[in-house]
């Protein structure tokens, strides 16, 4: 019964979404206030019924209702309850339902928090999101119904969730990632609404910015969790693989990074309007494209779920309508008049333009690398796979080009700046950064030029940020009051840029300095790695809820002092019989110690053991976390909590709102 209620709720959500996609748009066109005013309630309605559907499927998973096909295929009665719940999105149908629910959540959030928008703008924004919801709800209902039953031949037990996905990181990774993906639909909807209304101005940019920042923050956090999961769960210490599915989430992130910087220029200076709109369309289109690539089976990947050509065709048609339609609208409506607002070569505008250039090139590079195998296949030029060498060869120089400019960015002035001022401001940070680059790598495993370069650039960023902070509080009566006076959006920028610097240092240090040993060890043996002595204490048999494991226990000491106790496992999952390696990790700010079990070797309890020393690997994820927190912090800025615009006057006319700086 419960699955049928869920199915019915999903159908109702579709009906409401269709109404939302049609009526407010008609209202905006005919200037019908009643029709426009329906939009917020309809958006909340879509959310209510999506949540009901989601709850019904979650109930089916938690109650082991194996008559529901996706439950039977992806869960098992022995699975711990938390994984039964997360198994909901460990499959195509369920993850699509999650997608739709999150989209409805964003719609309802816009409906709730954007009451100060002119009615006509809000109506258009929600209607555009409604169109997207119609697409995904009908995709779910027509091609991938999560509530399909296996009646009467209901299996006694389920197939179990892929053991790779039975992991705490994977409980929240997909929801965070989808929050980011789908969140770009808000910026997209604002852009389309602005094109429809014919008004692309500073106010539009100001409305879009907080939504874009939040979506970007979630996407950063989601990507970070995915990388962290790959690191400890796939068992060989890698953290990024340039896999098509990773790229699918990385491309919207890159485009989104360009977008949020471009929005800053549009809000503050009224420049780059057409470009910003294009980036907003671009970022969300890449989210959709990512969905298409992952769901259609066009590209093969370890992450890809069951693939089905009918699904692929559906998404492609939807993609063509949404992206083609919005780019068509862009071509017809985007302003072509050259802006009269000028800016000098040395100015913040130029630096942000450079940021946009770098991130756009990076996005296109990843897009090209991801689609290259498909292009070659389509023209029957052979089958290819594009690997890390290609991506690294382009990415590393791009980031190295970006960072010198990024160090100047926060200090620069809008409109017109001077090289003399930059020199005066940045001479000290520059010299200090070079000194850091020369000295700091001495504390690592030998001097390394790549690390030196990374440290120099990261120090340049951080010292530039510090200098800027110093400048901004210099005139305040006390440091504390000066700090308090700074707006939240400024703190967000500080945190995010700092996080980026940390990421760069972490990525380069872990790539250059990692040490790994593979050896045969019997209980009692020990091995020393980078000053850490790993002693193999012994083996134990451990029974998990749905697996049996051999556990190898290690004591780690350094100079005779205990550092950690590590217990690596080799698990055999009962339902599927698959064997998984569970690495044991002692994490630290400056190094991770990592033990993974191989196979038993000979008799006498000896095992092949892999020991890793991974310096500064945490900086990668901490950096990404800082970026995410930075993105969220900007939302607290005072200027987003503005008084209500006077545009809610009868007739819903687009009254003037805000003035470009």
């Amino acid at each position: 019964m419960i699955p049928e209620i869920g199915h019915f709720a999903l159908i109702l959500a579709l009906c409401l979404a269709v109404t939302l996609a049609v009526v407010p748009l008609w209202g905006a066109w005919r200037r019908n206030l009643g029709a426009m005013a329906l939009a917020p309630s309809l958006a909340v309605g879509v959310l209510v019924f999506s949540v009901i559907a989601f709850a019904c499927l979650a109930t089916a998973f938690l109650q082991d209702d194996f008559s529901v096909r996706v439950v039977a295929a992806n869960s098992n009665s022995l699975l711990p309850p938390i994984y039964k719940f997360s198994a909901l999105w460990g499959n195509h149908e369920g993850s699509l339902l999650l997608w739709v629910t999150i989209l409805a959540g964003w719609m309802a959030a816009v409906a709730t928090f954007s009451q100060q928008l002119p009615t006509v703008v809000l109506a258009r924004v929600l209607a555009v999101m409604g169109i997207i919801a119609v697409g995904f709800l009908s995709f779910s209902l027509l091609t991938s119904n999560p509530f399909e039953r296996l009646l009467p031949s209901t299996p006694a037990d389920g197939n179990d969730l892929n053991p790779l996905l039975q992991d705490p990181g994977l409980i929240i990774h997909p929801p965070l990632l989808y929050m980011g993906y789908v969140g770009f639909s808000v910026a997209f909807a604002f852009a389309i609404a602005a094109l429809l209304g014919g008004r692309l101005d500073a106010a539009w940019a100001r409305w879009s910015r907080p939504w874009t920042n939040v979506a970007w923050a979630f996407l950063s956090a989601g990507i970070m969790l995915g990388s962290w999961w790959a690191y400890y769960e796939l068992g060989w210490g890698g953290w990024w693989f340039w896999d098509p599915v990773e790229n699918a989430s990385f491309m919207p992130w890159l485009a989104g990074t360009a977008l949020l910087h471009s929005l800053a220029v549009t809000e503050k200076r009224g420049l780059f309007k057409s470009w910003t709109v294009l980036l907003a369309i671009f970022a969300f289109s890449l989210s959709l494209l990512g969905t298409f690539l992952v769901r259609s089976g066009v590209l093969t990947s370890v992450h890809a779920f069951a693939t089905d050509p009918a699904r692929g065709l559906f998404i492609l048609v939807f993609l063509a309508l949404v992206v083609g339609g919005s780019l068509g609208l862009y071509a017809m409506r985007a302003p072509t008049v050259t802006s009269r607002i000028g800016f000098a070569w040395l100015s913040r505008e130029t630096l942000l333009l450079f940021n946009n250039l770098v991130f756009t090139v990076a996005t296109l590079t990843v897009l090209f690398g991801t689609l290259f195998p498909l292009v070659m296949d389509a023209f029957e030029l052979g089958k290819y796979s594009v690997g890390p060498p290609y991506f690294n060869a382009i990415f590393v120089p791009l980031m190295a080009l970006l960072m010198p400019v990024m160090g100047i960015g926060p200090l620069s002035r809008w409109k017109q700046d001077s090289a003399a001022r930059w020199r005066a401001e940045l001479l000290l940070p520059g010299l200090a950064a070079v000194a850091c680059g020369l000295l700091l790598p001495l504390f690592g495993q030998g001097y390394n030029l790549w690390v030196a370069l990374a440290v120099t650039l990261a120090a340049w960023l951080v010292l530039g940020l510090a200098r800027d902070l110093h400048n901004r509080i210099r005139s305040a009566p006390s440091i504390a009051r000066g700090l308090r006076r700074l707006p939240a959006s400024y703190w967000g920028m500080q945190l995010a840029h700092f996080g980026f610097a940390a990421c760069v240092v972490g990525a380069v240090a872990v790539t250059q300095y990692s040490i790994e040993h593979d050896l045969k060890m019997a209980p009692g043996d020990s091995e020393t790695l980078a000053g850490y002595r790993f002693e193999f204490l012994g083996l134990a048999r451990v029974e998990g809820p749905n697996y049996l494991a051999q556990e190898a226990r290690f004591a780690v000491t350094r100079n005779g002092r205990p550092v950690a106790r590590l217990a690596a496992q080799k698990r055999r999952y009962l339902a599927s019989g698959s064997v998984m390696t569970e690495a044991a990790i002692d994490d630290g700010l400056f190094r991770d110690l990592y033990v993974a079990m191989g196979e038993p070797v000979g008799s006498g309890g000896a095992w092949a053991i892999r020991l890793h020393y991974k310096p500064m690997v945490r900086w990668l994820w901490l950096g990404a976390l800082f970026m995410a927190i930075g993105g969220l912090t900007t939302v607290a800025d005072r200027r987003y909590r503005r008084h209500r615009a006077p545009a809610r006057a009868p007739g819903g006319r687009e009254a003037a709102h805000g003035t470009p700086a």
Binding site: T300, V323, A331, A378, Y384, G577, V579
Partner: protein, 180 residues
Amino acid sequence: MAPRLKLFIPLALFGVLALLLARGLQLDPKELPSALIDRPLPNFSLPALESGDMLTNATVTGEVALFNVWATWCITCRVEHPYLEKLAAAGVPIYGINYKDDSSAARRWLAELGNPYRANIVDAEGTLGLDLGVYGAPETYLVDGAGIVRYRHVGEVNDRIWESTLGPLYRQLAGGESGS
């Protein structure tokens, strides 16, 4: 070019991309364009991963077997690995072709994940892979007792693939041999 016309460039580019994706949908990335079917396994003489002895066609043929192309850089291979172990445990002979890989990394991999292979052919330069027409890992070839390639599967071997295509063919070939 008129300013308005320039704004159509993104749309045009997207049009090209959409056509490409539509074409992509009709292609099966796992389709096998192998010219080797029903022809003998190419001649090779390459070292074995475990012992370092030279392996040739003669040493690895003689019974119906799977030849699995794998590498440590291949994520899908890792996913596939447990299933190969299962097949090996069920008595299916599997030879590995360690393709364009680092041998010490490959030995570690086998030590860590288990070794379902009868033997592993080290194809560090990818020469055997070239002769076979390998374009990526994993790929699996079904070779009969006379050393003739009978089937090629591109991508992961899993329960579904084994039960639908590879398994029946294997049983048919293996059964035919023991019957004769």
